[in-house]
Symmetry: C2
Subunit: 244 residues, 2 copies
DNA sequence: CGCCTATTTGATCTGATTCAAACAATGTGG
DNA sequence: CCACATTGTTTGAATCAGATCAAATAGGCG
């Protein structure tokens, strides 16, 4: 998959359909490809990026370091995601971005992006929509961390990752790649590694998921959704037509 | 304060400076004023709003109801905030908005907003920036709920509310209105009412804040910031100039 | 006054953390 | 091809921050 086909697929996955012209315009965006090793930061808290990145392959995360060595992962990013799109209008990064496995990213200069948005306002709005969906995901994670049990939180995360991977056609049925370690899941859900481990065993015991070797295999999606109180509305994967 | 002056002030508070023309254009936006009683929802989960609202006076919040009667408040909204700006591009609300005290809001139709954004792309970008800052606040709350102690979380929230109120010139020194009950603070921070009450007593005991009768009075801002591990960067209140 | 809502206190319980150590898997250099 | 370092997973035991349950107190207001 080329980076432009991926971007088109991503935009379609959030309900934007593109004209042939728009597709061609996306294909013409100049970008740099970069290969990252696992655990490599590609944007750091405090940076003032001049480029914006799309994940092409692999898995990335957004995190911030609280005092006392406590890391909070705020989102996972799969191919098609543009995790620092916001840097177009928020100059200073208030968090870092890191590759969790070996990952490929494509970066586009802000100047190119801003020009592109000016010339293609419909796609500009789609990008805006994309950042708004990111925000919806943050809110959902807040609810999870604030109000759900560990069991529920992990189930919810697995549902989210599977659905997002399916939306960009990177899942194979109910199986998809999810190369996060238990420690990383713990950092994402506000739990300790030990507790994630034990809770994962419960989920396995309940025959809801298999999660091993960076592969997520959802054995019982309905059961997992129920366990995670998962309602996919917040992902806003369905189409939208602009208000008249 | 008129609604248009408030919107201008809000945009300036996030580092956008407006030309006279832009100011006039804002003043010409037609809107409806609505008075809400305490505890009145003005947008509900599942709605597909055709208008977007700005808080003029009072205090509102964004919340969602988890299973088992657990409410999670995801943000508080003070005058100048436009809590459902995202509904322009995300049709279905995945949460509700509610007035916490008697509150006045101004609403603008989506059509008017979209036309306005088309005609004033610079302000359109400022609105985009505003939604991005909201997202930054969600992320910060995630860190708080996931990784900080109750003591820290409450201190952090108080710092945030004071700084935001100061930014729109609604604070009187280190004192401002914050008409949330202890139960509402609990719902916002993922704590129980009982624990918020006890922790509040600790903060009082440490002579950091007085919080009573809907008034927040920060006695020792530096101490409170330290207690809350508060770094205001995420509010992005400083100016930004567009990338070249 | 009597009603309703918010705050406060006390006592008990528990989900999750922490500390510590074993175990498994993978990779690296000699 | 093995010794060993490294990173991730698993188990056990002790502890704690914060939840829960229950009830008292304090305001505000029609």
């Amino acid at each position: 998959v080329t980076h432009s086909a991926l971007m088109a697929k991503k935009l379609e996955s959030i309900g934007v359909d593109l004209t042939g012209d728009e597709r061609a315009a996306i294909a013409a965006i100049p970008c740099n490809i970069q290969h990252l090793k696992a655990n490599q930061d590609f944007v750091r808290e405090g940076d003032r990026p001049t480029r914006t990145c799309m994940v092409i392959d692999g898995l990335a995360c957004r995190y911030s370091n609280g005092e006392g060595g406590k890391r909070q992962i705020m989102s996972f990013h799969i191919p098609g995601d543009i995790p620092d799109l916001h840097s177009l209008f928020i100059r200073v990064m208030d968090h870092s971005l890191c590759a969790l496995s070996d990952t490929t990213i494509a970066s586009i200069t802000h100047k190119v992006m801003l020009d592109f948005i000016d010339r293609h306002p419909r796609i500009g709005r789609a990008f805006w929509r994309d950042t708004l969906i990111d925000a919806a995901v943050f809110r959902e994670w807040m609810v999870g961390i604030g109000r759900r049990s560990a069991y529920s939180r992990i189930a919810h995360l697995f549902c989210e990752m599977l659905l997002r991977m399916q939306a960009v056609e990177l899942a194979d049925g109910n199986t998809c790649s999810f190369a996060a370690s238990q420690a990383e899941i713990a950092d994402a859900l506000g739990l300790s590694t030990v507790h994630v481990n034990r809770t994962l065993q419960e989920l396995r015991g309940a025959r809801l998921v298999a999660f091993e070797g960076g592969k997520l295999n959802v054995l019982d999606l309905e059961g997992l959704k129920a366990a995670g109180e998962f309602d996919p509305t917040y992902l806003h994967l369905d189409g939208y037509s602009e208000a008249a």
